[in-house]
Amino acid sequence: VGGLRYHLRLAIASLRRDRRLTIAVFLCLALGSGMWTMIVTHYRRSYPPAPDLPPGLHQVEIRHPRALEVDKGTVAEGSGWHARTRVTFPEYELLAGSGIPTRQTGTYRTRLVVARDPAAPARMINVRFAGADFFGLFRVTPGAGRTFTRDEEQRGAAVAVVGRCFAEQQIGTANAVGRTLLIEGRPFQVVGVLGADQPERPEWDIVWSARDQDALYLPFDWGRRLSVSPGHAALQSPLADDPEALWRSDAVFVAFWMELPDAGRRAAYADYLARVLGPRGQPYWLRSYAAWRPLFTEPASDIMFFTIVVAVGLAGAAATAARLMLAKGLARRPELAIHRALGATRAALFRMQMLEAVLIAFPAAVGGIACGAALHVFYNRFVSETDMPVALGGTEVLIGAATAVAVTLLAAIYPAWRASRTPPTFYLGRV
């Protein structure tokens, strides 16, 4: 401990003596790792790991050739998300009509006229229609109140669950339970407020990834009752001119999920699908969530590009830091030669240089996180296109800090090695 304390004092003294160089190294590494921390947050948001959902969650893909062709016109060209992850309303009724006792939900989203009370002006709000099982299947949990029940759904109760962001920004309170909202002019009672923001990729309906979050959740059947026009509906043939046309059409817009937790129910449902879909000659696939997700991973995006660019930038910052440390080490060769002449081994000199790097690495990590946090604030204020703020989470802080420390130590290896090779006779040439 005494030795370590001595070496620490020595390292601190050395850092203080070349204060400008120390600050320059710190700045390079803090700025580089700050940018890295920010891009890591974005990358993890755009390419999130699979969430922890019930293992029995399943989806049925039914082939929709016409909708699939139109899908090629989106930026995620060829992804087929619109056509492959959703079904038509008549198909939804078939898929949901198996009678197998389990949890299941259809869901789609639209924009509706919503007022927070009868005296307030209305706004256009993103509303998701979903079954009562939706919340349990996707572990979307209320922070206040509760979600609506199957009984309320069957009774056609006018109840709503409110997103956290909508509650705070539009209603003005995180606890809006009991409030009445006017939706398309009809009163709905708020029974619950969600506890967290929606993820950027909503697994329940991935065509809405990277868009504003669902602000309101209403029981599934209310969509038909309100004659809504679902968003992102992929029409495969013209709709007839009557209010019920959509619900019997081949327009693709409902994402359907069900839980098949055991082999018996999976087999029974597969039999059911063979009976009802088989004769139609339309290809279909029943997939578990684990099998489904790799087929619908996020396509390559600009985030990937920027991640690579920032990684190159981080390497540049490391090279700069290494160059500065090299300059510092070589400028101190006479002093190091004296250490060597007094008996210090090369390994000891190497360790001494690395200890100095460690002393810079931790403040650089803190500085990097602070810089990353500042960039997040800037991003949320000036760049973000959605109402989902980018937040610096614990994992990102850890990754950012670990990167800063690792890069500092890597950058220090060559300068430390060069400094440790200073011959004991070096100083003789100076006197």
Binding site: E69, V70, V113, V312, A315, A319, R323, L324, S384
Partner: protein
């Protein structure tokens, strides 16, 4: 001259190869990040400012959501108004397939009444728009016409079917205009259907105010339509604001790029300054020897500036290679990415100036070193 100047530089580079490699790496990385930001930033700017192809100056969009719809007021400020229905803003994926015979082409449907041609100032290229044009009439943009009727095949009078609308008859072809949406392709291929869609959902109008009277017309519309209510949303916005959310995000992104770019340039400058100071300080004896052998001060100055230029050139070469490879690998992500030589040249000049600027002061100090330094250690 080249031999005189490059020889010592190359020998020094061999002797200090680690330090030189770090400088080149750092410059290469700086070039990569700066050039990427400049190229992609220019692309974002171009995309966010893309023109629709019609004069938006006096255009106003009016949307009425909710119970019922309302007729627009007659106003002395309003030149013309056209009823139209989404997706005039190309939102929410109203892309569809248009078909003629066996040919299917991906494109957009816009529903409007016949006055849309006058309100948008569309340029008629083929056909005409008679007053009694009936329902089912379709106007094609030039791009869609070229795709549906390749080789100049006659389009007028042809029947066009779509996945989202009943069969229609082509009555006219207009010059290309573009929907403004960054998330979709085929934004020029548009069929304007002169009919009402089955599920309009929203009453939407385009209003052209008399020249220079947009604000007055918007005020008149707001007064006449009222402020909306608990079951009705009335939105009156200058058409130029359509897509403004994307534009403001694009502006923000460019600011962020500027911050990151300045940060990188600052890191590069810090590194170059400190590095140059070190290189000069570590070679005081060499300089003394050269001075003793007859080198003048300006020769010493040139020696260090040539060295800095050489390192900058190598760094830029490395950066160009990495950036080119990166942009080539990622070109699919950025639709019509404009990779211009001048972008690369600007970044190269900035980095070169950075390296030369950073080398200048230490080089000047080195030029002051007396020949007697040759006899000292160092």
């Amino acid at each position: 001259v080249i031999e005189l100047e490059l020889g010592p530089t190359l020998r020094a580079a061999r002797r200090h190869k680690g330090a030189f490699a770090l400088v080149v790496m750092q410059l290469g990385a700086s070039f990569t990040i700066l050039a990427s930001l400049v190229v992609v930033g220019a692309w974002i700017r171009q995309f966010s400012r893309m023109s629709t192809g019609f004069d938006e100056t006096d255009l106003i969009g009016v949307e009425i959501h909710g119970a019922g719809s309302m007729a627009l007021p007659a106003s002395s400020e309003i030149a013309a108004a056209s009823r139209l229905w989404p997706p005039v803003r190309a939102e929410d994926g109203a892309l569809t397939l248009h078909r003629v015979g066996d040919r299917a082409v991906r494109g957009w449907s816009v529903y409007a009444d016949r006055s849309v041609v006058g309100v948008l100032g569309l340029r008629l290229i083929e056909g005409a728009l008679p007053v009694d044009v009936g329902p089912g009439a379709v106007i094609l943009t030039q791009s869609l016409r070229a795709k549906l009727f390749p080789g100049g095949a006659p389009a007028l009078g042809a029947t066009i079917t779509s996945d989202d609308a009943p069969p229609g008859r082509v009555v006219a072809v207009v010059g290309d205009v573009m929907l403004r949406d960054p998330y979709f392709s085929d934004l020029h291929t548009i069929a304007i259907r002169l009919s009402r869609p089955p599920t309009p959902g929203v009453a939407s109008y385009l209003v052209r105010a008399h020249a220079g009277r947009r604000a007055a017309a918007a005020a008149a519309l707001a007064t006449a339509l009222g402020p909306g209510g608990p079951d009705r949303v009335v939105a009156i916005t200058p058409y130029a604001m359509v897509g403004s959310r994307f534009r403001s995000a694009a502006d923000g992104l460019q600011k962020l790029f500027a911050i990151v770019g300045l940060t990188v340039a600052a890191i590069a400058l810090i590194g170059a300054l400190a590095g140059s100071s070190f290189i000069v300080a570590a070679r005081r004896r060499d300089v003394g020897v050269r001075r003793a052998l007859g080198a003048r001060r300006r020769d010493i100055l040139r020696y260090f500036l040539v060295e800095a230029s050489l390192m900058a050139a190598l760094g830029v070469g490395l950066g160009v290679t990495v950036t080119g490879g990166l942009l080539w690998a990622m070109h699919g992500l950025f639709y019509e990415l404009p990779i211009k030589t001048e972008h690369f040249v600007v970044v190269a000049v900035v980095l070169w100036a950075n390296a030369i600027g950073a080398a200048w002061l230490p080089a000047r100090r080195a030029a002051q070193i007396p020949p007697s330094m040759a006899s000292q250690g160092g």
